[in-house]
Every structure is written in structure tokens, then in C-alpha cells.
């Protein structure tokens, strides 16, 4: 999803999530080597993954979404307001967003992550966000780009 439309949906979705008390990162690689567009943690440690689709073509070219399901409690798609919502699978939730915000149109069914995996995903997210924050704060510190995803 590395186009500018997708970047707008990401920003609006991150703002929406923050308003719901969910904080996380973009572009986080999971243990199965899939990269989640957004992974976020709720106040009680709930894990949400959000896949961002900028167009129907983008959605159709991607059959990876079931791979994310066992890494989160709820999986959402985030799309623009012109996206045909009937395409979104029932197993997932739906967020509609633009560059400035968004809304949860349909909640995702909950499927709780196993405890060991919840721990691993939370730790990975914590270390990844910390690394990126340090990269932003300390211009003299360098890190292999591969570690930042």
C-alpha cells in the first residue's frame, strides 16, 4: 500500500485508533514475515491489525489477509469512502478513513490471540516503536533499515 492515497488512509486510521485508545505502529513485520500495515494495542493489551486498501485493484491483488488473523484479536480493513464495502470479508471489520480521520463502520469479530503470541507481538511492537522513536530523536544513531520494520 505504498501510494499517497494509502498514506492518507493510514494517517486518518491512526487518528481514529488513537481516539479509541489504541496506539501502535505502521508497517510491522510479523513472525510469519507478513507485514501488517498497522498494528495497535488497546488499553488492556488487545491487538488490532488494520490492512489498508487504497483501491479495489489493491484489495484484489492481496490474498494475504488470512495470514494476519492469528496475530491479532481483531482484523480490520481500512479503505476510502469510495471503496465498495461489500467486498470486505465477513471475518474482518471495516474502517472508512481519509487523511484527517475515520470511523469504524463495522466491528471485527473477536478471535483471541494465544497468550504466548500476544506476548511476542506486544514485545515486538514495543521494541520497534522504541527503535523508530530513537531514530527520530537521535540523528547520530544509525540502525539497519531491516530492523525498523
Amino acid at each position: 500500500m505504498p501510494d499517497s492515497r494509502a498514506a492518507e488512509i493510514v494517517r486518518g486510521t491512526m487518528r481514529l485508533l488513537a481516539g479509541l485508545g489504541f496506539h501502535g505502529v505502521t508497517e510491522m513485520t510479523l513472525a510469519n514475515n507478513r507485514r501488517a500495515d498497522i498494528a495497535a494495542l488497546g488499553p488492556a493489551g488487545e491487538i488490532w491489525i488494520i490492512e489498508v486498501k487504497s483501491s479495489v485493484a489493491d484489495f484484489r491483488s492481496d490474498s494475504k489477509w488470512p495470514d494476519y488473523m492469528s496475530y491479532c484479536d481483531r482484523l480490520f480493513f481500512a479503505v476510502g469512502s469510495d471503496f465498495p464495502q461489500e467486498l470486505i470479508p465477513d471475518e474482518t471489520g471495516l474502517i472508512v478513513a481519509d487523511a484527517f480521520g475515520g470511523a469504524v463502520i463495522r466491528d471485527a469479530p473477536e478471535e483471541r490471540v494465544a497468550a504466548a503470541r500476544r506476548k511476542a507481538v506486544t514485545l515486538r511492537l514495543a521494541r520497534l516503536a522504541s527503535m523508530r522513536l530513537m531514530q527520530a530523536a537521535d540523528a547520530g544513531w544509525t540502525v539497519a533499515p531491516a530492523l525498523l520494520t
Copy 2:
């Protein structure tokens, strides 16, 4: 520790920690309302807290350090090279740092955090780092300053 000497020690210590595979944040408030100068997570989820002391006066004015011990597996003091190292308590480790890096002079004894607290500290760190990262990345997003510590 909000002086410039302390800020230098923080930066050097963060670089040292990153080299050891520990990533975390500065100024994280714990559940007991104490604020850790640095809290960092190791690859297996180990929690280290580092208290930064810019001077002997700074060290002597602070009797709070035992309050941090039950929130981490290891507690360190980080000081400059001119700090009298014999003042550092045996229960803690010692890091000497300047603005550009540092070294672990004495490891800290390990006292493992209880599982529920490890989970809580890890989650708090993940959400805090994510929030600060979002604040840095999205100028249009505002958050109550109290949430960022």
C-alpha cells in the same frame, strides 16, 4: 534529571543499550507514579530501568531508586565518568556514559519481575513509544501531555 549533562548521559546510554539489543523510552511513568529515566526491553522481554545521575548532588537528593526495583529485572545507575562510583548501591548496576556512548561497568543483579507486572510494563512501554512516535510523525494530531510520560 532535566539538565543538559543528564541529557547527554541519556543519549549515550540509549546508544549503549541499543548496542546490547535493548530498546525503550525515556521518562516513563510507572504504576507507582515514579518516573523512570529510561525503561528498555531486551530481545526476550527483559526489563531494564536506568536512573541517570548528572552529579553527586543529584544522586544524594534522590532516595526513590528502591521504588523502581520491583518494576524491572535489573536496575542500573548511569553516570558521567567523573562520578564517584563507590556511591552506587550494590543492588544496582553501573553504566558510565557521555553524549556519544557508554559502557556497562558493573552488571546489575537480576531480580525477575512478576509475570503480570512484566506484561503491564511491556504494554505501557509499547503504547507510550507508539504515542510519541505518532506525535513526531503527525503534526496535526494532538494528545494531552500527561499521556506522553
